[in-house]
Symmetry: C2
Subunit: 231 residues, 2 copies
């Protein structure tokens, strides 16, 4: 958590968030009004935060990672817009899954990359597949959000097959599960082996580009210095 | 700066970095050996850090943003690999330009996005252009790193033209210059107007996808909740 996020929570009267995340910041919640909700209740949570803020309260809406990357910031603004409500909102950036997972794996994001969510809950699979194909063909590193859930397993297999057809089976792949949490697990594998690895709701998968290599259990995408300077 | 980064600096004996960044953390440097270098000396800086670490020193190599996103982590590992040196390295993730700029603009990164550097110093323009075309065609939000420098101005014009041919002239574009610094400047514009805006070495440009809209000086890319739930 950044000092800016901590300060915002300290200066708020009401803290709203998914229970699992609020449990992680327990020591900051003393004396605050706390509204903890269950998973998948994003719309309720944002609606409550907006309602209280519009009534004049100072509210902190807490989420994991970075609220600006596939997270709550957008829903807050969408809901404010649909109500045409002028509530002052400050988005405080955080360490997103892509930042944390890249750091754990070595340096896979040293060159152009595409972030793609495989969840087809809010996006048709055709759109997602088109993006996977485009990113694979243009040699982007891929950062895969929501790669697999209990009920949704085929999307990762299809993604693997699309990229493997372009980049080959030995392309390095990193899987980070529960980044920066107690249960953190880091696995380095290949496109070929990816579908046999443990990947779940808390995992982020990074697929290397054509230049990405592995060295001493690290995943490294060269920036191109070696071609220009003696390194 | 995250608490983890601060702790790492506190626990290091030698701090190495580009002078401009070291000036920002002046209060952490008392009693440390400091190696400040000029811009464009990344290879020298990393080489010195590796040399000292290999000799048993605890060294912090400081950079702006996130060392794992287009930054120093990769060069460190590339140089260790070319020397086959087993020095323990911890990459501490930070708030990258894409995190900070998205937060300042509202919520542009709520859906799939591609990060592309327009610098052709280490990458041939043909590769960059191919990526811009692919990202434009597949409706990714684009995060443009190194959009323009004094000597390099054509790449942003070409990028604008490629995306505009697919998405239309009114597509929202956000420009953040000097994010989270004293000279921070945030500008919301359109693809059509982009080339008339002030964009420099410290700027990051975010180009919306086909669904991105502007509301009250904010840039919002819908996640898709509105199609699924009443928001």
């Amino acid at each position: 958590m950044t000092p800016a996020a901590r300060t915002a929570i300290e200066h708020s009267d009401i803290i709203i968030g998914y229970k699992t995340y609020l449990d992680l910041i327990d020591e900051l919640l003393a004396g605050k009004e706390v509204v903890a909700s269950q998973m998948m209740k994003e719309v309720d949570r944002c609606g409550r935060a907006i309602e209280l803020a519009a009534a004049g309260e100072t509210v902190a809406l807490v989420c994991g990672g970075d609220p600006g990357i596939y997270a709550m910031a957008g829903l807050v603004f969408e809901m404010l817009r649909s109500r045409d409500l002028a509530v002052a909102v400050e988005v405080i950036p955080g360490i997103a899954a892509l930042n944390a997972c890249a750091a754990r794996l070595g340096a896979p994001l040293m060159h152009d990359f595409a972030a793609i969510s495989l969840s087809d809950l809010l996006t048709p699979w055709e759109v997602i597949e088109k993006r996977v194909r485009a990113a694979a063909a243009a040699d982007f590193v891929l950062v895969i959000y929501n790669p697999r859930s209990r009920r949704r397993v085929e999307q990762l297999v299809k993604t693997r097959d699309i990229v493997m057809a372009v980049r080959g089976p030995r392309t390095p792949v990193g899987i980070v599960t529960g980044a920066a949490r107690e249960n953190e697990r880091v696995e380095l594998t290949t496109l070929e082996q990816l579908t046999e690895c443990e990947v779940g709701m808390q995992s982020t998968v990074i697929i290397g580009n054509s230049q990405t290599c592995c060295w001493r259990n690290l995943m490294i995408t060269p920036r191109g210095y070696a071609g220009k300077y003696a390194v």
